[in-house]
């Protein structure tokens, strides 16, 4: 599903959550990065038709989200996993999917049941399909959440901070699942975990204080840190010049990776940057002046 966002604004009283967002999202997996409070959740909610925009335009799959008819048309082709999906503890996953399926307009009972079964199988929960949700772990709840989002085979899947609070194994499992789903649909992943985007997305946008700082290929964001990413090995304290992205203690001293426009120490060595360093370089608004 093609999404076109133009000059999107959203205010909550005196607080401006989105301040003139322009963005184009095409098929596949698209990562939306930003710190807490950057406006990601507000943008996701507007795209899901949960919140109206204060001004601006969103066209998704040819439908204008500023109209009620447009919102409903998009919601019929949407799967949404909010950041805080409460679930109903008294229901089993099968019952929960049956209920959400009905609200999504899946009227055929047999088809709804079949789809619920297939989706629980897809997310690896078919063996607990008859167990009440109250006993489920955070990762299992998130998987029920993705299963309900996939009901009706949506063309657009919006997932807001899906890996927060998951253990590393669950996170990897969830990322892999999302990647596999992006083959046939547009998946919009909102997160503040750079690693999630690095592992799954080709396209990304970075949001800060309600504005788009960057939009483009993940490799282009990584390239923002080229020529400004350094490694220093020292037994002493971390360098004060620049942003220390990682510090790994080894036998020969601590290996610091630093994003800085200047060499943070005389013996600093330029290294190939990661996406995280590209993100840091962008957020620092450091001008990537090539050194050398």
């Amino acid at each position: 599903m093609h999404i076109e966002i133009a000059d999107l604004r959203r205010r909550f009283g005196r607080v401006t959550a989105l301040d003139g967002v322009d963005l184009t999202v095409t098929g596949g997996m698209f990562g939306l990065l930003g710190t807490n409070g950057a406006g990601k959740t507000t943008l996701m909610r507007i795209l899901a038709g949960v919140l109206p925009a204060t001004s601006g335009r969103v066209i998704a799959g040819g439908h204008d989200l500023s109209t009620r008819a447009g919102r409903v048309a998009v919601q019929r082709r949407l799967g949404y996993l909010p950041q805080d999906l409460g679930l109903y503890p008294d229901l089993t996953p099968t019952e929960f999917l049956d209920y959400v399926g009905l609200l999504k307009g899946l009227d055929d009972r047999a088809a709804r049941r079949r789809q619920a079964g297939e989706l629980l199988d897809l997310v690896g929960l078919s063996d607990v399909a008859g167990r009440k949700l109250k006993g489920f772990s955070g990762g299992m709840r998130r998987r029920v959440g993705i299963a309900q989002a996939l009901l009706g085979d949506p063309a657009l899947l919006i997932v807001d901070e899906p890996t927060v609070g998951l253990d590393p194994e669950e996170r990897i499992r969830f990322r892999t699942l999302l990647s596999s789903l992006a083959d046939a649909r547009t998946v919009l992943l909102s997160t503040h975990i750079v690693e999630d985007v690095a592992q799954t997305c080709r396209q990304t946008a970075v949001l800060a204080a309600g504005r788009v700082l960057f939009t483009g290929a993940v490799t282009d964001l990584t390239a923002r840190a080229e020529g400004v990413t350094w490694e220093i090995v020292t037994p002493g304290p971390p360098p004060t010049d620049g942003v220390v992205v990682s510090a790994i203690a080894r036998a020969d001293g601590t290996h610091y990776r630093v994003v800085s426009p200047r060499p943070p120490a005389p013996d600093a060595v330029l290294v190939t940057p990661s996406l995280e360093e590209g993100y840091v370089a962008l957020m620092r608004s450091s001008v990537p002046t090539p050194v050398g």
């Binding site: 949960v50 409903v72 503890p89 009905l102």
Partner: protein
């Protein structure tokens, strides 16, 4: 599809939606039976049975209504679905209303058969319970929607209910407050002023529910403070 969604919504409305109205009526009936069994007057028992319909049932229904409006674990998910969230809440309140109506009608019929009927007869007898129930449930739903707090809403409902009981004479005596008096039938009777009081409560109840629906249609009123 229709029946299945109603069954789901009945479950979401919670056991209280099915249990509170009969509990209220049984409570009143039990006290009436106890009074009759302990040499209480027939009038006292009749008044208690009437109060079960006009005072206790509306209170029970209002408490359940505010719970239905405030207790929703998946509100954001509902707002993203093509079925309007307002329709979902409406169905749950509809389940509560239907259970209440069936039980109140059965209670009215049973009381009449037992020879303890008092108050207006015929279609007007519906207004004994329907008018105060609609008003108090509408008030409860509105306060719950605006404050998003079951504690505040239940406190407000309790305050109104107890206040009207304690200052009943003030409500009856004031032309301004009389249309809001919930217990006119059991405290004053169904003589002059009764019909106007019932119409006032029904109109007020519908207005409260309409405003509640308008507030429920604004998602920013329903979601938690933006983390943006």
């Amino acid at each position: 599809m229709r029946l299945t969604i109603w069954l789901h919504e009945a479950r979401r409305a919670g056991p209280a939606a099915l249990l509170a109205p009969p509990a209220a009526l049984l409570f009143a009936a039990a006290i009436a039976i106890f009074i009759r069994a302990t040499d209480g007057s027939r009038d006292q028992a009749q008044t208690l049975l009437l109060a079960g319909l006009e005072a206790i049932t509306p209170l029970a229904v209002a408490m359940v209504a505010l719970t239905i409006v405030t207790r929703e674990n998946c509100r954001e998910l509902h707002l993203s679905l093509p079925t309007p969230h307002l329709a979902t809440i409406g169905r749950r309140l509809g389940v509560l209303g239907a259970v209440t109506a069936v039980l109140c009608l059965a209670h009215t019929a049973a009381v009449a058969v037992a020879g303890y009927r008092t108050g207006p007869g015929g279609v007007a007898s519906l207004l004994v319970w329907a008018a105060p129930t609609l008003w108090l449930a509408g008030f409860a739903a509105l306060v719950a929607t605006v404050t998003r707090s079951a504690v505040l809403a239940s406190s407000a409902v309790a305050l109104v209910w107890i206040g009207e009981q304690v200052w009943a004479s003030v409500f009856v005596g004031s032309p301004l407050l009389r249309p809001l008096f919930l217990f006119f039938t059991s405290r004053v009777g169904d003589g002059p002023g009764w019909a106007a009081n019932r119409v006032g409560l029904l109109a007020g109840g519908l207005l409260l529910l309409t405003v509640t629906a308008a507030v429920l249609s604004r998602p920013e009123r329903l979601l938690s403070e933006e983390d943006a």
